[in-house]
């Protein structure tokens, strides 16, 4: 099963290396990892999608938690949350198929963001299911290149992190 970990870390050089190295050293896989700063510029959030059974996830979480630069690890898999991923797809598109592609783009509420002589770049955001679907629907046209950001996620409702106190304290 895939788990979504939301990890607050110090926004410092080397933190990503520490997190990535931990996964490599202990033999855990990463499906995707997205990182960016939070509302507090000293702190970043990593959204990490990890495949593994309960035992693996428990170890990953505990080992991550031991890193000094990691402030808080939450497994939000079972929480109510909004997830998004952004994808850029470059498809082969000679003029004869452009119309069909545009229709599909509309259905997915995606956008064409660049038009070349024989290709288009499509941008789409959505949950993983939608992103997978639009990628699949483009296959028959010939995908030249795909870039995906990896998933980011936000828990619904009021802020649930215990780290909130810390965040606001730091902001002062």
């Amino acid at each position: 099963m895939k788990h979504t970990l939301s990890v607050l870390v110090e926004n410092r050089p080397g933190v990503l290396t520490r997190v990535a190295a931990l996964f490599a050293r202990r033999g855990y896989n990463i499906d995707s990892l997205a990182v960016g700063r939070t509302e507090n510029p000293d702190i970043s959030r990593m959204t990490i999608v990890v495949p593994g059974d309960h035992h693996v996830i428990e170890q990953v979480t505990k080992q991550l938690d031991k890193l000094i630069d990691v402030i808080k690890v939450s497994d939000i898999t079972k929480d109510e949350y909004v997830e998004r991923e952004l994808i850029l797809i470059k498809v082969g598109a000679d003029p004869s198929v452009r119309g069909e592609i545009m229709q599909i783009v509309d259905i997915f509420r995606a956008r064409v963001v660049d038009i070349g002589k024989d290709s288009l770049i499509i941008e789409a955001t959505g949950d993983l299911g939608k992103i997978d679907a639009i990628e699949n629907s483009m296959r028959s046209f010939g995908i030249i290149e795909v870039v995906r950001t990896g998933k980011i996620a936000m828990v619904r409702g009021p802020k649930h992190e215990d780290a909130e106190n810390y965040l606001s304290h730091r902001r002062l």
């Binding site: 520490r18 050293r25 938690d65 000094i68 990691v70 810390y166």
Partner: protein, 580 residues
């Protein structure tokens, strides 16, 4: 301290009307390092100088509080700091220059990491602007040590020196201890900054595990009451949290036999009726039987390592398993447990002591005593040739189990663990996790520095001692009365034993009979030495060495092909030992 001689005092910028004009203390980075180390109570540093740490050594030159021990190889600075930490409970400190100095520390840092030893390693680095350009003597030591430190820092701001050193000591010594490295670019150490010791520590991501599982403790007290055949399996965590007193009370009040891991050795007096000695691959028969037969296994400050458990699926098969440790990530990592308590071992044990009523386990202890009688540790001492076990028994007798012992790695290490009955907590240092040949001799230097009046022994193999033999110069220079006992079998004995048992006696590259004359070598360094080839000379040699109160090397020529037994073949059940 440098302050008086070189530091500069200037009046603070406190505005008129401030109650007191605050005095600012301005120093250069190197002086700040030394001052911060002094503030941490550091008395000894093990190190080796070089270009990038020149300013630091200049500041050390003036320190009256810190004694610097000049080792002959940086690896030994780390191992000595490690031995110092193990035998004193304080943080060990080592220093090396950039590049090769720093990389020479790596084995020592990894060793401390595997055994959870509190250590602060300070390395020089090239100037900040030269980092990343493959400059002379540049090595990315924070990158290199990332997986073998509890944490590390690359400093790039002189203002951060004091708070970083504070953080480093805090992180190294609390929670599950471990080594912390501070990489110090040279130019940072020559810039000036105000000395501000009271800056607040800002480590929001560092959590010292608080005690969790009080409910579990009540359940454990209950199962303890019901248990007919309990065993305590005690590890290095007892020593790290200084919980030996609580362990002794628990064992005695509840009449529970205690087996220790290699790392836990010395946490429980080995002459005690409830002591089972070591368990696992080269553990005693009775310890392994007791663990296999028990109905309740109390794992305290342990990590269920593969050298202990053998085949995990048959380990303590009939028992309910309790695991207490400071590191939540250790719980359930290797074996599923029935009850877990996370936190400081000492705190956990004293809570448990309050909860659980006293109880006797006469029948169970009689069964165990039966095993002790039937399957004692044994070796054939009937020949004229010196047996390595005999040498260790004699060292133990002469020192009455009260020496500080550091071992190398190999057969002699296992014999030391089996036959040296340690009575004082923290008096036995050995490389348990990494298994580092060359650890023991420098570690014994650290133990001697921490315990100047104690009798210190390095129990060594002829192979291992040659890995850091150059430290003979160090013990000679500082007149450290370390006793080196080489159990010389002219083999890489432990590897040879495996070749004998698992590889059809093909002794590939393990014959070490081409070796120096250790006595002459020691004498060349200015260390008194004796070669011992007869059994009757063993004890007098040990007595002479201990009595000399000087550095002393003994080269015991022992049975070449003696094997360590009992032995559990790797991956096998610990119930099924080759008893020898």
């Amino acid at each position: 301290m440098a302050v008086e001689k070189k530091g500069m005092e200037v009046d603070g910028v406190g505005s008129v009307g401030d109650k007191l004009p605050c005095k600012k203390l301005v120093m250069n980075g190197a002086e700040l390092v030394v001052k911060a180390l002094e503030d941490e109570g550091v008395e000894v540093i093990f190190g080796f100088p070089g270009g990038a740490v020149l300013p630091l050594y200049d500041a050390l030159y003036y320190s009256e509080k810190i004694k610097h021990i000049l080792v002959r190889h940086e690896q030994c600075a780390a191992h000595a700091a490690d031995g110092y930490a193990r035998s004193s409970g304080k943080v060990g400190v080592c220093v090396a220059t950039s590049g090769p100095g720093a990389t020479n520390l790596v084995t020592g840092i990894a060793n401390a990491y595997m055994d959870s030893i509190p250590m602060v390693a300070i390395t020089g680095q090239v100037v900040v602007s030269a980092i990343g350009r493959d400059s002379f003597q540049e090595a990315d030591i924070t990158g290199i040590t990332l997986p073998i430190t509890k944490h590390n820092f690359l400093l790039n701001d002189v203002e951060q020196i004091v708070p970083t050193i504070k953080k480093a000591f805090h992180i190294a010594s609390t929670g599950r201890p471990g080594p912390v490295l501070i990489d110090l670019p040279r130019d940072i150490t020559t810039m000036e900054a105000e000395y501000r010791p009271d800056m607040e520590l800002d480590t929001p991501g560092y959590k010292i595990p608080k005690m969790q599982g009080r409910d579990a403790l009540e359940e454990i007290a209950e199962v303890l009451k019901q248990s007919e055949k309990p065993v305590i399996y005690a590890g290095g965590g007892i020593l790290r949290s200084k919980a030996q007193g609580e362990l002794l009370s628990l064992a005695e009040k509840h009449d529970i036999p205690v087996t220790t891991t290699l790392m836990g050795k010395s946490c429980f007096p080995e002459n005690h009726g409830l002591s089972l000695g070591m368990l696992g691959m080269h553990g005693t028969v009775y310890a392994n039987y007791a663990v296999s037969e028990c109905d309740l296994l109390l794992g305290i400050g342990v990590r269920f390592a593969d050298r202990v458990t053998g085949n995990i699926s048959t380990f303590a098969q009939n028992a309910r398993v309790v695991h207490m440790d400071i590191d939540p990530a250790e719980i359930g990592k290797n074996v599923p447990v029935d009850y877990e308590v996370v936190g400081d071992i000492r705190e956990i044990l004293s809570s448990l002591l309050r909860l659980a009523p006293e109880k006797k386990h006469c029948e169970w202890n009689e069964t165990i005593d039966g095993w002790k009688d039937k399957y004692p540790l044994h070796y054939d001492n009937s020949t004229d040739i010196i047996k390595p076990q005999y040498v260790i028994e004699q060292i133990c007798e002469v020192t009455e189990g009260r020496a500080y012992v550091a071992t190398e790695v190999g057969q002699h290490q296992m014999w030391a663990a089996q036959y040296y009955k340690s009575l004082m907590p923290g008096s036995f240092s050995t490389s348990g996790g990494l298994g580092t040949m060359g650890f023991g001799f420098p570690a014994s230097i650290g133990m001697q520095m921490a315990n100047p009046d104690a009798t210190v022994f390095n129990i060594a193999g002829d192979g291992s001692i040659q890995m850091n033999i150059q430290e003979l110069a160090t013990i000679a220079q500082y007149d450290l009365p370390v006793n080196i006992a080489i159990l010389n079998n002219q083999y890489l004995g432990m590897v040879r034993q495996w070749q004998e048992i698992f590889h059809g006696r093909r002794y590939s590259q393990t014959d070490m009979s081409h070796q120096p004359d250790f006595v002459k070598l020691a004498e060349a360094y200015g260390v008194e030495a004796l070669k011992v080839e007869k059994k009757e000379e063993v004890r007098p040699a040990i007595e002479k060495a201990v009595g000399s109160k000087k550095p002393f090397l003994m080269d015991f020529h022992v049975e070449r092909e003696e094997n360590v037994f009992p032995m559990v073949p790797p991956g096998g059940s610990i119930k099924k030992m080759i008893r020898g």
